[in-house]
């Protein structure tokens, strides 16, 4: 066991200094929002001197961040629920089908990871328009349920292939149907991987900007990132106001992060990206 030596102490100082440089932008994100824009223009590096909340009140009221946040939550939750249900079921087939078709279909779906979604995003928008979903948040929900499916299937199938097959076979011998095996044997074992799926898919969908901008921009159903884009455009160099909005919009994901940080860091550390 290596002990805490003077060299370790030196490393500690260097690391804390590096972290301070990294955290500096986050400190600005917090401090600027609590100061008037005139004050920020005078001294950009200054700290807040009083509890100045006008930016938040104004930003929340005029920036329409509340409704956008609600839309974002609805879209993320719906898409993630679809992904978990549809992805787990499909992966059950991919991981446990007896013939070769399952493995082949799995490879086709997994190859979807490489396809840049910009290629299909406008033809898809055209399809949504034809079925009357233009400007409807459902279009973004369905889009994400499709786009995140390859990652979801990769995670679930990889996990299920590691599960011992004996329990399922025993249940089959006892006369259970595939559905019963899935429901009673497989699903209860999926909790850890479902956590990873929810984290990676959820954060990716929450942060997404391009497609919601395209599909919902200009309607009353925009998501938080799109509303931030509108908002920042509107306020020009009114940085106190803009930063209050940026901070308000970041709070949900930062709270989730600090509460579940160990789990989130482990999910990302696996080398898969949402």
């Amino acid at each position: 066991m290596r002990r805490y030596s003077s060299r370790t102490f030196l490393l500690e100082i260097v690391m804390v200094a590096a972290a301070l440089v990294f955290v500096f932008p986050l400190w600005m994100l917090i401090s600027v929002g609590f100061r008037s824009s005139a004050d920020v223009a005078r001294n950009p590096l200054g700290a807040p001197t009083s509890l100045y909340l006008d930016n938040f009140v104004e930003g929340w009221r005029s920036g329409a961040l509340g409704p956008a946040m609600v839309n974002s939550v609805i879209i993320v939750v719906s898409a993630v629920v679809i992904l978990v249900v549809v992805g787990a079921a499909a992966s059950y087939y991919f991981a446990r089908s007896s013939g070769r078709t399952g493995g082949r279909l799995y490879l086709v779906v997994a190859a979807g990871l490489m396809v840049p979604f910009q290629i299909g995003v406008l033809p898809l928008y055209r399809l949504f328009t034809q079925v009357g979903l233009a400007g409807n948040p459902l279009s973004v929900i369905l889009f994400n349920a499709g786009i995140q499916l390859p990652l979801t299937v990769l995670l679930y199938t990889g996990f299920m292939r590691q599960l011992p097959v004996e329990y399922e076979e025993a249940a089959r011998v006892d006369g259970a149907t595939s559905w019963q095996v899935f429901r009673r044997v497989i699903v209860p074992l999926l909790l850890p991987v479902t956590g990873t799926v929810v984290i990676l898919d959820g954060i990716a969908i929450w942060n997404e900007f391009f497609t919601p901008l395209l599909y919902l921009g200009g309607t009353g159903n925009v998501t938080l990132p799109v509303q931030i884009y509108n908002f920042a455009g509107e306020y020009g160099a009114d940085w106190g106001r803009i930063f209050a909005g940026l901070l308000l919009a970041s709070i949900p994901v930062l709270i989730v992060f600090f509460v579940f940080q160990r789990y989130i860091i482990r999910s990302f550390g696996s080398g898969l990206k949402g």
Partner: protein
């Protein structure tokens, strides 16, 4: 763009797959998933690829097949060539910087320092933030007479305008991405370092290897998988750079920070040259496919040797 998914390889080398189940699961379990995949991913993408060879504006119903005209136009446009050059330069610089910094941070938080857990959390926090928000945050940091410019002036460099100066704007955008995602590279390296049995490093230490030798001969060779995953992920993500550019420079000044993705957006959705925009998307796809296959080939080569 933040939302695409791309995987490098399974997180760790998995043991051989268990024997195939003796019972067959009926295909209808996969039907809803396959429907989503076909309707949302496969069919629109195939349509999109077809449109790359047409003059479709993206709006009307007038679609004429024009063969390779879009690609010919693309490679004779100064703006597109600039965007291609910027994209490759940015992706290469981001990949190098993000991974060098990520590795250094990973070594730091994997040591015995007392603050390692809190530092790891703080350094990772930017990864989960919305890229467009991070972009606006940095636009302010770099604004003339803003924080960075004020600090630079105190150090004797007056009039610094990182994002407004064509010679530095690209590096300004690179710094935004490197700041946001170094923590991501860090956690993947940390996972790789944690997989190294502690005895190996201790044995090297007993044999008199200092920290640098231990890194060069023990740690570095044993985190190759993490390095491969990191290089692929950062290259692929940065080849598609969009959100951070839109929130900081919008491709300017001039074409200085225009990427293939921002150009695609402008052409396809602002100028209604959809076929042309999709042709740009295919170029991005080809670059990504080259990276992905290079990685697959490299990993295969290693496991055989």
């Amino acid at each position: 763009m933040s939302s695409e998914t791309l995987t490098a390889a399974p997180p760790v080398a998995l043991p051989q797959r268990r024997r195939r189940a003796l019972y067959g699961v009926p295909i209808w379990f996969a039907v809803p998933g396959l429907f989503f995949f076909l309707a949302i991913v496969a069919y629109p993408t195939v349509l999109g690829v077809y449109y790359a060879f047409t003059d479709w504006s993206g709006l009307g119903s007038a679609i004429n097949f024009i063969g390779l005209d879009n690609f010919v136009a693309l490679f004779s446009s100064a703006e597109t060539l600039a965007a291609l050059g910027n994209t490759v330069l940015m992706a290469a610089s981001i990949t190098i910087l993000q991974n060098v910094i990520g590795l250094a941070l990973a070594l730091g938080v994997s040591s015995r320092i007392k603050s390692r857990n809190i530092l790891r959390t703080l350094l990772f926090a930017p990864v989960v933030m919305t890229p467009i928000i991070v972009g606006y945050l940095w636009q302010f940091l770099y604004v003339p007479d803003g924080p960075v410019s004020t600090i630079a002036a105190a150090l004797g460099f007056s009039g610094v305008n990182v994002l407004g100066d064509p010679s530095t704007a690209l590096w300004g955008v690179v710094s935004v991405v490197v700041w946001q995602y170094s923590g991501y590279s860090m956690v993947i390296f940390v996972a790789g370092i944690q997989n190294i049995p502690e005895e190996v490093g201790e044995a090297a230490e007993l044999d008199g290897a200092g920290p640098f030798k231990r890194f060069a001969y023990v740690t570095w060779p044993l985190i190759r998988t993490a390095t491969g995953i990191n290089l692929t992920l950062s290259l692929i993500t940065s080849l598609k750079l969009f959100d951070q550019v839109i929130a900081t420079t919008q491709g300017g000044p001039g074409y200085a920070t225009q990427t293939l993705s921002t150009l695609l957006y402008n052409q396809a959705f602002l100028y209604n040259r959809y076929g042309y925009g999709i042709a740009l998307g295919l170029i991005v796809f080809i670059l990504i496919a080259v990276v992905a296959f290079a990685q697959m080939w490299l990993l295969r080569d290693r496991s055989e040797s």
